[in-house]
């Protein structure tokens, strides 16, 4: 019962922050709402017996990804951009309506088809379920191939990010003169 109440409260916060992110004019606020959302989701992970994932969620998502977002928003001053007009006037409500409709349909579909019974108790192993040791065990045996594959992903992303942002001094000057011309 306690869990259910906690869930409902957190779910409200979670949805609220998501909507907050969606509607914030200011990108910094949007990012903060998202951080809140991620932290709440981390709490859900704890409730679902995934402490390791919960911690990674906070470290990676809240601690690294969103900080980077924030960093870039501030660096480029993106929070200043007001969306002038944005979508055409009729498109906005249509998009919202479609989104809402989709949501209702999905929720109804799941609600009517899935069993409302709580998942079975994991018993004695509940304490160890989702522990780093267990995760590691599975990760380095069954999932070793994708794990190795992802190293290429990270390498490529690293190389890519460097290539995209590294400017040679000379080129920069040319660019600036070009921009002045325009």
């Amino acid at each position: 019962m306690v869990q259910l109440i906690v869930f409902l409260i957190l779910a409200a916060v979670c949805v609220g922050s998501a909507i907050g992110m969606l509607t914030s004019k200011n990108a910094v606020y949007a990012a903060l709402f998202l951080v809140l959302n991620f932290v709440v989701i981390a709490v859900f992970y704890l409730m679902l017996g995934a402490p390791f994932i919960a911690m990674v969620q906070i470290t990676v998502y809240a601690g690294a990804i969103m900080v980077l977002f924030m960093f870039v928003i501030m660096l480029v001053g993106a929070e200043m951009f007001q969306e002038a007009g944005g979508l055409n006037s009729w498109q906005r409500p249509v998009a919202l309506l479609m989104g809402f409709g989709l949501m209702v349909v999905t929720v109804l579909m799941i609600a009517t088809s899935a069993s409302p019974a709580p998942p079975r108790d994991l018993g004695v192993s509940a304490m160890e379920f989702g522990s780093p040791a267990q995760i590691g065990e599975v990760l380095y045996t069954n999932y070793i191939f994708p794990f190795e594959l992802i190293s290429f992903l990270l390498l490529a992303a690293m190389v890519g990010a460097v290539i995209l942002t590294k400017t040679e001094r000379k080129k920069r000057r040319v660019l600036r003169s070009l921009r002045n011309k325009n």
Partner: protein, 483 residues
């Protein structure tokens, strides 16, 4: 199972290429700035030697890593396609990146990384590998699309590609999550078994299949998830566009076919009509939109959408026992044909392109027939192949794939296929008209690597259009009884 299993035979091709790509990154540091062509040749060497490794790996027990991967004949067939596409891309890019002052060794490494991703997709036997490999494929492509630094349209193209790619990934992941919720596993074969077992929650399952289709649909650019294609294709450097119009597409289809044929085989009757409709819409929309384009890059972009529709046609034939092999080899063969044809076409586009993304109007091809008869002739062959006219590989491919569709009982889809081919004739012919029947002062810049690539692809397009049996045999031998 442990780390040592990573040395299993079937993982050697992908491992070998991965090692090569990583070493190349380091080796490149010692290659002087003005001689990056060396890196290009090393890349080609890597691709060629990987092909040899693949050839020596075929026939091994395909399932490895506890069912994570299944490097069967289908995968090997696609490996060859990917390696071919990557090799052609490298060949095309040597002069291109030099001409446009974006010559950096990492360019080649990124191509290799993307190729690794494609190979991963081809051998995926678990949703997790599908997802990770898809990202390994996509991320280098995002970077490559924005490689023309300082050119706004290239950066925007990369941005659009990236945002839509990430959007698509999100759909894919959610779809996988729902399928996982329905079946309790991410292994393709286990999913199939679970569905057959009947315990699967249908709402989750169908929702999941739908979202996976959306996600992969974005990647391979089927209607209605295609809107990013023209902009991205137009803005990206031509050589990169060539790469992802074939390579990424092939990778996406590899995964799509595997997921459909293996995981969702028990519910074929439910998804096949959806695929059929998607395929029809894609063919119709792609071809009709291509008609009005004036830029050759945009025209080819829409044409590539259309071709996605044709390949998708093979999708409907699958999941039906013996037919599945037939459909899979049809798709593979079509991809080979499309690879040759499209790479060659982009090579010619690059030859006519003065500087990146200039001179891309179809009108700028005027007079090519007089000035560069051989090049124009090559373009004619390639255009005919794209249209699907004999005696080119494009025709054999279409014949194969339409036959598969008819075999599966989708006569109407085949009808849409041939009618849209007719429509496509209109805009492909326009290129020929402009080349031969209008005068202009076109200049084509053909460094020898570029002409080599164009020549090879054109000859392959023609020769395999006349005597395709050797290619067909490879496909038939590799892809039999695997799904």
């Amino acid at each position: 199972m442990n780390l040592a299993d990573l040395t299993q035979m079937v993982l050697r091709p992908i491992g070998f290429l991965g090692l090569w790509a990583s070493i190349l990154l380091i080796v490149d540091l010692w290659i002087p700035k003005d001689r990056k062509t060396i890196t290009g040749w090393l890349t080609l060497l890597g691709l060629a030697s990987t092909a040899i490794v693949v050839a020596y790996t075929t026939g091994e027990d395909p399932v490895a890593m506890g069912g994570m991967v299944k490097a069967d004949g289908f995968a090997y067939m696609l490996y060859y396609i990917f390696l071919l596409v990557a090799a052609l891309t490298v060949l095309l890019s040597m002069s291109y990146i030099e001409k446009n002052n974006i010559e950096r060794g990492e360019f080649y490494s990124l191509i290799l990384f993307a190729t690794i991703g494609m190979m991963g997709m081809a051998m995926a036997n678990d949703m997790i590998v599908v997802f990770v490999a898809l990202e390994v494929l996509s991320i280098p492509l995002y970077v490559l699309a924005g490689y023309l630094r300082g050119k706004a349209e290239s950066e925007e193209s990369a941005m659009k590609y990236f945002l839509l790619g990430a959007f698509a990934s999100a759909f894919l992941v959610y779809g996988i999550a729902l399928v996982f919720g329905a079946t309790g596993t991410t292994n393709l074969e286990a999913i199939s078994a679970a569905i057959e077992g009947g315990a699967a929650n249908r709402a989750y399952l169908y929702g999941g299949i739908g979202l996976i289709l959306v996600g992969l649909g974005f990647k391979v650019a089927t209607v209605p998830f295609h809107m990013w294609t023209p902009d991205v294709y137009e803005g990206a450097p031509s050589v990169v566009t060539a790469f992802f119009s074939v390579g990424a597409k092939a990778g996406g289809f590899a995964a799509l076919l595997r997921v459909l044929y293996v995981a969702f085989e028990p519910v074929t009757a439910d998804w096949a009509p959806v695929i059929a409709i998607l395929s029809a819409l894609t063919m119709i929309f792609g071809n009709i939109s291509a008609i009005t384009q004036t830029s050759i890059k945009r025209m080819l972009a829409y044409s590539s959408i259309a071709h996605a529709g044709y390949i998708l046609m093979a999708g409907v034939a699958g999941g039906q026992g013996a037919l599945t092999d037939f459909a899979a080899s049809a798709a593979a063969f079509y991809l080979v044909g499309y690879a040759f044809t499209n790479m060659g076409t982009w090579g010619i586009v690059m030859a006519v392109e003065k500087e990146a993304n200039t001179n891309n109007e179809i009108a700028s091809f005027a007079g090519l027939g007089k000035k560069r008869p051989m090049l124009a002739m090559a373009m004619v062959v390639l255009m005919l192949s794209l249209t699907g006219l004999p005696p080119t590989i494009g025709f054999v491919g279409k014949f194969y794939i339409f036959t598969a569709a008819i075999d599966a009982g989708y006569m109407w889809l085949a009808l849409v296929g041939v009618v849209t081919s007719l429509i496509s004739a209109y805009y492909y012919l326009r290129v020929i008209i402009v080349m031969y029947m209008q005068d202009g002062d076109v200049e084509a810049d053909l460094p020898w690597t570029l002409s080599l690539a164009v020549g090879l692809t054109t000859i392959a397009t023609f020769v395999f259009g006349v005597i395709p049996q050797s290619l067909l045999n490879i496909g038939n031998d590799l892809i039999s009884g695997i799904f």
